[in-house]
Structures are given as structure tokens and as C-alpha cells.
């Protein structure tokens, strides 16, 4: 590995680059999707190749190769450096790359590696979960269970001297249930994802998600569409995590600063929310799906306190953004695969717990809605606008939980949503997710305690 990486780096530097880096990846995945007890998709894959970047005076070039020979790596190193050279004359803002140097070998040893579990065993496992919704209620008309495991070996080196090799193992299970009663159709999904081997899939929580998705789908049969309007909203931990991710996390990605694409541009060191509010992004949490020891540029990862006591204190950095903003690199560069350029990304994003008892928070809400779980969300940091959708919720009437509602959307402004959070719960939970940016999908987690937002527009039918 080392000689391949160095062949590419040396070729790039000799051709005129002032900085170059290489990621060599070997990833094996298995995805099995079962529907109504039948395996619909059984997919195995191997991703094998190298991504090479060259840099001169502010100009970047990127290329990938699957020719993992000394000759192939040298050739790609040379051509990517030539492309950087050609780009150099068109760049306005010149700067030089620098950063901390790391040399490390991380070995990740799960108790039960995915390769030790036969396909038959994995299919048996999925079958047991896929049967749960049908056993739960006869109104379940369709089940879908998706199991995925991913084993990655990654080698990262750069011309500053960093050489890091990493291993990672990510299993995931998703259950989707569709319920039907007359013409009333409802759908619900539950997922579980962590960092570890197959042993994590044998815990109780992943093994009962079929039942859980079925329960929500059946409950949804007696739900009503939410009425649109401005409401006080209590978010459950899962939805709160999505809020932190969409409404704030993306806007903290430091590549937004040189590009001037975030409404937070002038807010570093400023108050962005109430002083009881703390938001973090933490890739060092053990066993979480968004955790890693080093990022995809080979920088050691650390916890990022994005918002501390209501003040925006830290951003999510790549080596480049740290240099350009004159801040400390914190290991937030991530890429979907060797075919992609590392970008500033989140890992495990969360709101730190506060001191409200959840029951008290609900009792304290006269007229509002408790929103749970999520369908999806998105944001545009350059406009400062975001939206996300809860999969279901419950009306709160005079401090008491009432009628179930479904598909409730929330829209808001990045700059004023945090100020509207007036109660933060003392509970905490994280949920697995996948985050997209510039066409790159990466595994992540988000979560927090229950929290209340005052008067926010809620979409309805």
C-alpha cells in the first residue's frame, strides 16, 4: 500500500504540485433486501481503487484509478498534477497547504466479522425480522427488510508525511411496513445502524425493528393529517437530531466560508441561540455509525463543540478550510469512496441534554404538537432555509397527548430557529442516518434529548 501511495505522491510532486494526497480503498459490502418473505435483492460488491489529489497555489485537481500498480499510480499522479497546473492560472485566491502530520495504523476488530457469517445465516436473520410485521397484525400488506454490511480498509497518505491506515465495519438493518385498511394505506420505517461486527445485529433493538415498524404503520391507520399553522413543537430525540443536522450542522461546514455560502458567515464567536443550548459533532463516540479515528485526509478526529452555551464556537474543517480560516483542523473531511473528493462533513451530530423532564415539558405545553421520528430533511445554507418532516406525531392539548398525526413538515430559518428553543430535555438518544452533500452519501448519526421550539410553521393538508 505504502509504495503505491508514495509512487503517486512522488509523481505529483515531481510534476510540480506543492501538495498531493492519496486514498487507497478496499471495501466489501453485502446488501440483502427482502420483501414479503422473498429475497428481492442480494448484492455483493467490491470497491477497489485509489483517489489522488494534486494542489498548486490554490488550485486543486482530482483523479481516480483502479489500476493499483506502481506504474498505474505514477501515471495518475502525473496526470492529476498536470491538471492542477493547468487550473492554477485561473485561480484567484492563492494559498499554501499545510497541516499536522499523523502516522498510525488503526485495527478495528469486531467480535464477529461479516466475512465469518455465511450468506445463509444473514438471510435467516433478515427472514426473522421480515416475518415480524406480518405476525404483528393482519392489516400489514407489505414488508420490506433491508440488511447491509460494509467492511472498509483505507490507506491515506499525503506529501506532508501523513500515513494512516484505517479499518471500519458498519452494519445496518431497516424495516418498512405498509398497512392497509379499506382504502387507507400507511407506511412506517425503522432503522438501526452502528459501528461494529455482526454481533451488534444480535442485540435486542435491531432484532425487534420489524415489530416496531409494524406498530407505527398500524397506529398510523387511525391518524389524521396535521392541520397547517404556526405551533409550539416538541421534537423527540430522533427528530431533534435531524433538526440539529439540517437546521444547523450543514451551515457549520467550513467549506461554506471561503465560498460565502452560509448565513452563519459572520456569526463565529457570536450568540446564535439561548445560553442553555449546546450542539456538538462528535466522531469519537465509541461504536457509533458516524465514528472514525482519522478522517479521509488522515487528520485525527476530535469532538467539535459547534455551539457552546448558545455561541457558535467551532466549525467542521478539512485541512484546506482550517488553513484558509486560520483555525485548528479537527478531522471532518469525509468522502463517500475513493472515487470522491473529501468534503467537510458531519459525523455524530447532537444536541447536548438539558434539565427539563420530558413529562413536564409536555405538561407545560398548552397547545402544540409532539413530533417523532423522521422521513427526510434538507437545507440550503446559502438562503438560510431548512425543512424536515416527522413521520408521525401527536397533538398536545392543554399539556396532554392526544390525536396521532402524520407526515408533519417543519420549515424554518437557520438564523432564528435556535433562539426559539426554550426547553431542552434531560433524556438522550441517537439514530442512524445517511447524509448527502454534492452527490456524496456518507453514514452518520444524529440525536439529542426531547426539545421544544416555540411557534414554528408546521405544514398540513
Amino acid at each position: 500500500m505504502e509504495d503505491l501511495a508514495h509512487a503517486a505522491i512522488e509523481a505529483a510532486i515531481t510534476t510540480g504540485s506543492t501538495f498531493a494526497d492519496v486514498r487507497i480503498e478496499n471495501t466489501v459490502t453485502t446488501i440483502i433486501e427482502m420483501t414479503d418473505g422473498v429475497t428481492k435483492k442480494s448484492i455483493a460488491s467490491r470497491l477497489k481503487g485509489a483517489g489522488i489529489r494534486a494542489f498548486i497555489d490554490g488550485a486543486w485537481a482530482f483523479a481516480q484509478t483502479t489500476d493499483l500498480t506502481i506504474k498505474g499510480m505514477r501515471g495518475t499522479g502525473e496526470s492529476v498534477a498536470k491538471l492542477a497546473k493547468a487550473t492554477k492560472s485561473k485561480v484567484n485566491e492563492k494559498f499554501q497547504m499545510d497541516g499536522p502530520v499523523f502516522n498510525d495504523k488503526i485495527r478495528f476488530k469486531p467480535k464477529k466479522p461479516f466475512s465469518d457469517i455465511s450468506v445463509e445465516e444473514k438471510i435467516d436473520y433478515i427472514k426473522r425480522i421480515d416475518e415480524q410485521p406480518r405476525a404483528y397484525d393482519k392489516r400489514i400488506v407489505n414488508t420490506r427488510t433491508v440488511y447491509g454490511d460494509l467492511w472498509t480498509e483505507l490507506y491515506i497518505a499525503n506529501s506532508l508525511g501523513t500515513c494512516v491506515s484505517l479499518e471500519n465495519a458498519l452494519p445496518r438493518i431497516i424495516s418498512v411496513s405498509t398497512a392497509k385498511d379499506g382504502t387507507n394505506r400507511q407506511r412506517a420505517f425503522k432503522s438501526y445502524g452502528v459501528r461494529g461486527g455482526f454481533e451488534k445485529m444480535e442485540l435486542e433493538q435491531p432484532q425487534t425493528i420489524g415489530q416496531e415498524s409494524a406498530k407505527i404503520a398500524i397506529d398510523l391507520l387511525s391518524s389524521v393529517s396535521a392541520k397547517g399553522g404556526t405551533h409550539d413543537v416538541i421534537m423527540d430525540p430522533v427528530l431533534n437530531g435531524v433538526m440539529v443536522h439540517e437546521a444547523f450542522g450543514h451551515a457549520c461546514e467550513a467549506d461554506n466560508w471561503p465560498a460565502h455560502t452560509t448565513v452563519l458567515e459572520d456569526k463565529v464567536g457570536e450568540c446564535v441561540g439561548p445560553d442553555h443550548l449546546n450542539l456538538s459533532d462528535n466522531p469519537t463516540m465509541p461504536g457509533e455509525r458516524g465514528s472514525f479515528e482519522y478522517d479521509w485526509e488522515g487528520t485525527k478526529s476530535k469532538k467539535r463543540k459547534l455551539v457552546k452555551d448558545g455561541v457558535l464556537t467551532e466549525l467542521l474543517h478539512t485541512l484546506e478550510t482550517a488553513i484558509r480560516l486560520d483555525m485548528e483542523p479537527n478531522g471532518a473531511a469525509r468522502a463517500q469512496s475513493f472515487m470522491h473528493v473529501p468534503l467537510a462533513r458531519m459525523s455524530n451530530t447532537l444536541m447536548e441534554p438539558g434539565d427539563w423532564d420530558v413529562e413536564e415539558m409536555i405538561a407545560d405545553t398548552k397547545d402544540g404538537v409532539l413530533l417523532c421520528s423522521f422521513n427526510y430533511g434538507y437545507t440550503d445554507p446559502s438562503k438560510g432555509q431548512f425543512m424536515f418532516q416527522a413521520s408521525h406525531g401527536y397533538l398536545i392539548d392543554n399539556g396532554e397527548i392526544g390525536q396521532m398525526v402524520r407526515d408533519v413538515s417543519l420549515a424554518g430559518q437557520i438564523l432564528d430557529v435556535l433562539a426559539k428553543i426554550d426547553a431542552v430535555g434531560n433524556d438522550f438518544r441517537m439514530d442512524a442516518g445517511t447524509c448527502g452533500k454534492n452527490g456524496q452519501m456518507i453514514p452518520d448519526m444524529s440525536g439529542g434529548p426531547h426539545a421544544r421550539i416555540r411557534s414554528i410553521p408546521v405544514g398540513g393538508m
Binding site: 455483493a44 482530482f62 405498509t178 394505506r185
Partner: protein
């Protein structure tokens, strides 16, 4: 390249058969994508991605396995072939699976999918195209605090599908897309918008138009306000039609979703589901179409399929599996994300037939309502409930645009939305997955606050 890939595919079929597959399908492709990115008005990076890989689908009885690899090297192909057969053997039989498709006729000829000018583009020319667009945006916004973000990406590729039942298709295609997104700061307010073109031919990309239009879109977003909500008419401009109908309706007429009872449109084939003047076809063989191809992702010939006519749902979108299950002919809508995906179903060119009038005409006719130019939201595909944030849009009154909107959502069930289509404009354009004019919805719940 074509012959090389055909050779690879044919050898891979034999390999999987050697491991015990009854039927085998191999999809292999090779592409070169060159892109340039602009940050804060200036070029920042360039990339050249050469990607070649191979996906193998093996069938053993009624059991199916799939494996892919990101190379086309012999030992990797052997491993993928073996894995696909091993997965097939371990899988549970699918009683509804009949067979992989077969076809021995001639594929329809589709013109305009390959442009030698894109193949011949060098990095200097690509840089020139994007700089012209960025400069046009800056020129229109002169004197303002502006940072333009932009990207151009041109691709050439070859794909090959071979199966053990005689399918043997290969095609060369090109494509190019470019967007510019100016971000402006004016009196303490920050906003942005974009404009984009995508095409199979270089001459259909107009850098100056993209830049200028993106600047004008951005200016129209300044001064956003909330409004008093309620039941209001909604005008969907083509990009909003793309997410709501291109995503939210094309996905509902996906035969697999309907067969499993997961679609809000289930059980409606042959019934009246929309207003009469909403006509939609899926056309896989239109000249130069971004979604056009001679054959689909399983090698079944492409065709033109009527989806909505006179308000009646005429057909669903099928691949070979769902067609066999319903005992009908496939509509040639098998799709896959290149060599790395198993065939699923999607629209090719989803086309809303034009009616009359420009966007301004529609607004003037409707009088009072909201215009949604862009949203990222799709409906819940099972219930049809749509709760969409107006990411970019305006409030209009007395037939005139009053101001842009912030924190505003529209809510409506898709079944109602289809029935409430009151007018269809003639301002047709390509908007990602759909080719559509603006569409007027009689009323929807608008929430703003």
C-alpha cells in the same frame, strides 16, 4: 471500447454459467467525466474521473444474486461472477420471477444521444464555458456583494448489456450539465438561486443565458416575506413540477410499488385519476432526450408509453419482472445506477404535454395565489400526502408578482393535486427528470409563519 466491453461481458456470462447459474446478465460500462468547479467567482478545482466496472446478475432456478466490482480486471470479474452465483444459491426463491428478458430484433434508433463535440472538448474549452456563465451572472449583478458558485461536468461513456438469452446491446452516449448559483448579500439579507441546463449536445448549453438567468432568479428572491395562509391557488413552475410530478407521480406509477400496494395510486389503472387536460407520456426514444436510450437497463427495447390521457391512468412503468408478474409486455423502464445497481424501475423522459400561455399569462389568469419555483419535497408515496416547503417562490395578487416567500409550505394530497390541475402552460423546459411547462393547481393549503 465497445468491443472490449462486449468481450468482457460475454466472458463474464460464461464464468457465471460455469459456477452454476441457469441465466446470467452482465452490465458493464466505462466512462470519462471531466468537471470544473467554481467557488466565489473563480475556478477552484478540476477533476477527471475514469470509471469502469461490471455488474453480474445470476439466476439459479427462481433465486437471484447480484455482484459488482469497480474494475474490469479478470480476477475481479471472476470473484464477482462467483459471488453472484453464491448469493443466488443462498437466496430464497421468488415465485413471481419468470425469466430474464430476451430480445432478438433490432433496437429502435434514437438520434442525438452522442455528440462528438463533447468527446473532443478539452479542459481549456470547459474552463471557458464555465467562466462565460459566471461572468454573465456577475455582470447582471454588478455593484452587488456577490459570490458565484458553479459547476460544469461533461461525460462520455459506453455501456454494454449481455445476457445468456441473447440480449446483446451496446451504446455510446455523451452528456453535459452546468449550473451557476449566485449568492448575494444586500442590506443584511442573504439569498441565492440557480439556473441549470443539461443536454446530450454541447450546442444546447448556453453559458451566458445560464449565468444571466441565475442572477435574475437570485434577485427575485430578495425581500422574502411570509403571508397569511389559507386555501390558495398554486402555480408550479417546471422545476417544482419536476420534484412533485417527476418524483412524486412517476414514482407512484412504478409497477413494483403498485404491485406491492405501496403506492397511493394502487388499484387505479384504467380509472380517471386526474383533470382531463393533464396529459403525460413517458418517452424513452425521443431525439436527444436526457432519458432516451435504444434499450432499457435490462436490454429490453425502449418505447413511448402513454401514462395519463383524458384524465385516465393508461399504463404503469414496467421492467421485465413486473411485466411478467402482470402477464403483459414490459414498457422498457428498467433502470439502474450504472454497473453498481440491480435493475429497478424509473421514468425515461417523463413529458407533460404543453397547454397554453407563458408563466406570466398563467399568473395573470389566476389572479391571486402562490408561485412555487422550487421545492425539494416529494409526497409520501403510500398516502400521497404532500407537505412541501416553497424553497423559492412568490406571492402574487391581481395577476402580478408581489414578493418572494419565506417559511411557507403547501399541503395537498397527490390524488387531489392531480384532479385540481386547472391549467397547463406552454413554457416547456427540461427540468432534470421531467420535460414540462408550468402547471396550475386550483387550490392547496398554504401555511406561512
Amino acid at each position: 471500447m465497445k468491443e472490449e466491453l462486449l468481450g468482457i461481458a460475454e466472458r463474464a456470462v460464461k464464468k457465471a454459467e460455469g459456477f452454476g447459474a441457469d441465466q446470467v446478465e452482465v452490465y458493464t460500462s466505462s466512462s470519462r467525466t471531466f468537471s470544473i468547479e467554481v467557488e466565489n467567482n473563480s475556478i477552484k478545482s478540476a477533476s477527471e474521473q475514469r470509471d469502469a466496472g461490471c455488474g453480474i446478475r445470476s439466476v439459479v432456478g427462481k433465486k437471484i444474486g447480484f455482484a459488482y466490482v469497480t474494475t474490469v480486471q479478470e480476477d475481479d470479474l471472476l470473484e464477482a461472477a462467483e459471488m453472484s452465483v453464491r448469493l443466488a444459491k443462498a437466496s430464497l426463491p421468488d415465485p413471481d420471477f419468470v425469466t430474464l428478458p430476451s430480445f432478438d430484433g433490432a433496437y429502435p434508433e434514437v438520434k442525438g444521444l452522442y455528440d462528438q463535440e463533447i468527446v473532443d472538448l478539452d479542459s481549456e474549452e470547459v474552463a471557458d464555458i464555465i467562466i462565460r456563465a459566471v461572468d454573465a451572472a456577475r455582470f447582471r449583478l454588478e455593484g452587488m456583494n456577490v459570490a458565484v458558485e458553479a459547476k460544469v461536468s461533461s461525460s462520455t461513456g459506453t455501456k454494454v448489456i449481455v445476457n445468456s438469452l441473447g440480449i446483446n446491446g451496446s451504446a455510446d452516449t455523451t452528456s453535459i450539465w452546468m449550473y451557476t448559483e449566485p449568492i448575494i448579500k444586500e442590506d443584511g439579507e442573504q439569498t441565492s438561486s440557480y439556473e441549470v441546463q443539461l443536454s446530450r449536445n454541447l450546442k444546447e448549453i448556453h453559458p451566458e443565458w445560464i449565468g444571466k438567468a441565475s442572477a435574475e432568479n437570485t434577485l427575485s428572491n430578495l425581500g422574502a416575506k411570509i403571508i397569511e395562509g389559507g386555501e390558495l391557488p398554486v402555480v408550479l413552475a417546471p422545476f417544482a413540477v419536476d420534484t412533485i410530478l417527476g418524483g412524486g407521480f412517476a414514482g407512484a406509477v412504478n409497477a413494483e410499488e403498485v404491485q406491492y400496494g405501496r403506492s397511493y395510486i394502487a388499484d387505479a389503472l384504467g380509472e380517471e385519476v386526474s383533470a382531463q387536460h393533464l396529459r403525460i407520456v413517458d418517452d424513452g426514444i425521443m431525439e436527444s432526450g436526457i432519458g432516451s436510450r435504444s434499450f432499457d437497463a435490462e436490454g429490453h427495447p425502449s418505447q413511448r408509453t402513454e401514462i395519463l390521457d383524458n384524465g385516465v391512468l393508461k399504463s404503469l412503468l414496467h421492467n421485465s419482472y413486473t411485466a411478467n408478474k402482470d402477464n403483459i409486455e414490459s414498457t422498457g423502464n428498467a433502470s439502474r445506477a450504472g454497473y453498481s445497481g440491480v435493475p429497478s424501475i424509473s421514468s425515461s423522459n417523463f413529458i407533460v404535454a404543453p397547454g397554453k400561455g407563458t408563466l406570466d399569462d398563467l399568473i395573470s389568469e389566476v389572479g391571486k395565489g402562490v408561485l412555487c419555483r422550487f421545492t425539494g419535497d416529494r409526497p409520501n408515496m403510500t398516502t400521497g400526502d404532500l407537505s412541501a416547503m416553497i424553497m423559492e417562490g412568490s406571492y402574487f395578487e391581481n395577476g402580478e408578482i408581489k414578493h418572494p416567500l419565506r417559511n411557507t409550505l403547501i399541503g395537498i394530497n397527490m390524488r387531489d393535486l392531480l384532479k385540481r390541475v386547472e391549467m397547463v402552460g406552454a413554457d416547456t423546459r427540461v427540468a432534470f427528470s421531467i420535460i414540462s411547462p408550468s402547471v396550475v393547481i386550483r387550490s392547496a393549503q398554504v401555511t406561512s409563519g
